[in-house]
């Protein structure tokens, strides 16, 4: 159980550059009225960011697109189906983990 000083300073520096984009828009933009188009645009951000993150997780292996021999891809299908049917995150994760475990 030790904390290396150089590791602490590295993590603190990483935390500082992580905090800026997390904090600044929320502090600054909550003080102004955003134009309509920007609010519509921001409304699509969650869909866009989640789709990109999900696709990169299940369609790529080792930085390359992989459709065959990639259990992450078929295992996400039951997860998506359970999500659409139950709207439950817990059931979705359970279905996905189960399918992945069977396919692995």
């Amino acid at each position: 159980m030790d904390l290396r000083p150089e590791f602490i300073s590295l993590v603190l520096a990483c935390a500082a550059v992580t905090a800026l984009p997390r904090v600044l828009p929320l502090v600054l933009l909550a003080r102004v009225t955003l134009p309509d188009w920007l609010r519509v645009w921001l409304g699509y951000v969650p869909l866009a960011v989640l789709s990109a993150l999900l696709a990169m997780e299940v369609l790529m292996v080792g930085g390359r697109p992989a459709l065959a021999g990639n259990p992450a891809l078929p295992a996400i299908l039951p997860a998506l189906a359970v999500a659409a049917y139950t709207r439950s995150l817990i059931a979705t994760v359970a279905a996905g983990l189960g399918a992945y475990w069977l396919l692995l």
């Binding site: 993590v11 979705t92 475990w101």
Partner: protein, 245 residues
Amino acid sequence: MSAPSAPAAHFAPGLAAGARAGLPVVLGYLGIGFAAGVIERAAGLSNAEVLFVSLVLYAGSAQFILVSLVSLASPASAIVLTVFFVNLRHLLLSAALAPHLRGLPAWQNALLGLQLTDETFVIAAARFARGDVPAAARASWMAGLNLAAWSTWALANLAGALFSAQLAAAPGATRVLGYALPCMFAGLLVLQLAAHPRLRTGLAVCAFSAGLGVAVQAFWPGPWAVISATLAGASLGLALERAAA
């Protein structure tokens, strides 16, 4: 949206409601955090360092990248720069939450933003957009969500670190637990789509961002894939909505 009238009266119930709303994310963080702890130990971090990084950095993908770069003995400046770009997407998430968290003191906005993650953002954005959380309770609700997710993440990381020796004998188990991350993304995506007023435009944005993200990542690996896919996808959504109006 008005300024909170009597924040104190809303504080405890708001906190509890936010923590309850975070329960699905919290359960997912148990699996992902546990896997992260195992991987961080395997990369040479001590138990104390695992707890420290999960409490202070509190960012799943950035933690994975940090430990892999540390184990490769990359220079600190390169590590900090990589983590900055990986987490730059939070700029967009934080901006998207801002209209829902107006009328708060700046320090409250700052504290709430400090613990923003992909998952807590989606939960909060969906609940706020549906009008589930009264304006006066939003700060305490978001604090409850944040604290539930943050504490679970740190405890799961620590548990993974403590049990990493046992898990080393079964590497498949860590891999299965890590798969909770794409499952969470899938579940959150479906929830977002179901809550979106324009399903077909939403589906188009999803397909476009997914394809673009993979394409950019394949040709130009790095943090720009998610950021460019998000910028282009949201712009497509705006353009399609404008064209239909």
